[in-house]
Symmetry: C2
Subunit: 220 residues, 2 copies
Amino acid sequence: MDDDVILLDFWVSVFGQRVRIALAEKGVHYENREENPQNKTPLLLEMNPVHKKIPVLIHQGKPVCESNIIVQYIDEAWHDKSPSLLPSDPYLRAQARFWADFVDKKVYESAKKIWMTEGEEDQQVAKKELIEVLKVLEGQLGEKPYLVGESFGLADIALIPFSMWFHTLNEIGKMNIERECPKLAAWVNRCMERESVSKTLPRPHKFYEFILEMQKKKGH
Amino acid sequence: MDDDVILLDFWVSVFGQRVRIALAEKGVHYENREENPQNKTPLLLEMNPVHKKIPVLIHQGKPVCESNIIVQYIDEAWHDKSPSLLPSDPYLRAQARFWADFVDKKVYESAKKIWMTEGEEDQQVAKKELIEVLKVLEGQLGEKPYLVGESFGLADIALIPFSMWFHTLNEIGKMNIERECPKLAAWVNRCMERESVSKTLPRPHKFYEFILEMQKKKGH
């Protein structure tokens, strides 16, 4: 049954990385198919006609879309496999969903602005916004090992791929995220001790090169 | 236990209405506290410090935020009460989450534009966009009674409060949503047969008056 799993993915996508981490946590075997965002395959358009975006998890021929939803699907479809990616307590489950949703609504947009924004003033605003967002996450972390409850799960999986961006953000934004958010930095190290994470995330330098290349093409 | 449930709400909010429908479906007793968005109470700011928005469900002193997350929480916290608001099959659960998320990402923004937009041309664009979004939902509905599976649930609860907007959208946008989307119109009628829905949603005319009043204040 495990073998009938295909992931439509793109190596640089933080959203695809979430799914790869979740599959690795559960030990699910799958075929990874690299998509080109500039030239989408007919399979991607067929499997995600609404958003036309990776990642798509195709399990026994049926597609599941949207990364946080896919991670919850993986937890439920392979519920007999450890570890659980969501706590069992309803309140903690709601917390996990809340923080995964917060990452989607706040981190992606505010971080992307730092290399998309032109002009010193706009970049200062973007930097301030990102640090505020990361400090909210740092507050949620507090003295806990993970974002919600005692175990690595949905909210951590939602956030950890963005740690691959920190080096690029520090370079381009002339900032030091690790110094601003030491608890978050310690949490990143803790997550990176997991093979599911360390083997999934590209080297930070590789991502930096990708962004510099992208900026060059856009004539920055 | 049921009695220790407080909902921070605002009558006109489609997001608050989702929570009220879910609580009514489960037969959970609760205290509804009306918030004023222009003058938020200290309790709201304490219970939802991140987004500072209603609805917030406070259950035994602990807050749950974000309407689709609250509906899932209600389903899980009162899992022994019928009906289930999510199917049991993992694939259908993912589908329910996907369509609830689609409503959040697409319906709210495109519908709101119709009364927020000034100028004929922009309004035409907004109308076209909304009808396209509603037709996607109509496609998902197909010949089924509800959006996902055979039962009324999360995705229906996410969408049905917007039906209260249709009269206003038809009037202001000079459109006819029911004619454009007959299956969706039939689904609205089907949902309105449920007491949880019909007793929760304000009369469409009341909403229209609210929007006209809002436009007047903004000097439209």
